[in-house]
């Protein structure tokens, strides 16, 4: 039941994250895989630069996962791995994997974790365009 949480500057091993949540008690494994898109609001994106305040990010990620266990007591296993550093188009930026007895809770818990991660986990994204870079969501 100890969640597998990591921030890494290495390419994410999606299969390893899926394997980390495997358990005989689960009939459903649900994974969200976030990847680097080639545009943002119609503006072509060349690559992304992620920065992380690792120690706080892991603390906050722990809170998010604890909240998910409280909301879905049947939740079995959770893995969250987020990449940092420079990512090219198509690279995997984040994987959230959950295992539950039945599928409905697996979709709900997985969505809760990725949505809440985006609100509270201390990771920042700088998009690189042909003519410069910009911190995502920094300004209103």
């Amino acid at each position: 039941m100890t969640p597998y949480l990591a921030i890494t500057d290495q390419p994410i091993d999606v299969a390893a994250a899926m394997a980390a949540v495997q358990t005989d008690a689960a009939g459903a494994v649900n994974a969200f895989i976030g990847t680097v898109r080639n545009q943002s609001g119609g503006r072509p994106v060349r690559r992304l630069h992620y920065e992380s305040y690792d120690s706080m990010a892991l603390t906050q990620l722990g809170h998010v996962v604890t909240q998910a266990y409280e909301k879905w007591p049947m939740l079995q296993e959770v893995a969250v791995v987020h990449r940092k550093g420079t990512l090219e188009l198509g690279d995997v930026a984040v994987v959230v994997a959950v295992a539950t007895p039945h599928r409905a809770e697996s979709f709900a818990a997985c969505q809760y974790i990725i949505d809440t991660l985006k609100q509270v986990v201390t990771i920042w994204k700088r998009e690189e365009y042909e003519d410069g870079t910009e911190w995502v969501a920094a300004h209103p």
């Binding site: 976030g34 992620y50 920065e51 992380s52 305040y53 120690s55 706080m56 990010a57 603390t59 906050q60 987020h82 930026a93 984040v94 990725i114 991660l117 985006k118 609100q119 509270v120 986990v121 201390t122 990771i123 920042w124 994204k125 700088r126 911190w135 995502v136 969501a137 920094a138 300004h139 209103p140």
Partner: protein, 95 residues
């Protein structure tokens, strides 16, 4: 708390300096990744934000700017101590 300890903590607060770590766009705005605020440093999160916005007005143009104390988001009235790990947290954008 014994009176002696109260006296000691008063001296401690007056001598207090703070170290604040900057991430993302706040580091670009301030121009360094760590800023040291000499004594008398802001005593609370709210005072720190006020002081930082005064020195760096561009911080006030952000969608949000939170303060983290020891890896947790902190309210404006939370007191600050020299030993705390303090960071400015601009709008996060993971995922």
């Amino acid at each position: 708390m014994p009176a002696g300890n109260r006296g000691l903590s008063k001296i401690y607060v007056e001598d207090m300096s703070l170290k604040v770590t900057l991430y993302g766009i706040t580091r670009d705005i301030v121009g360094t990744s760590v800023i040291e605020l000499p004594a008398p440093a802001p005593a609370t999160v709210g005072e720190l934000l006020e002081e930082m916005r005064k020195q760096y007005p561009a911080l006030g143009e952000l969608r949000s700017c939170a303060v983290a104390v020891n890896h947790e988001y902190a309210d404006n009235d939370q007191p600050l101590h020299t030993v705390d790990e303090i960071a400015l947290i601009p709008p996060v954008a993971g995922g």
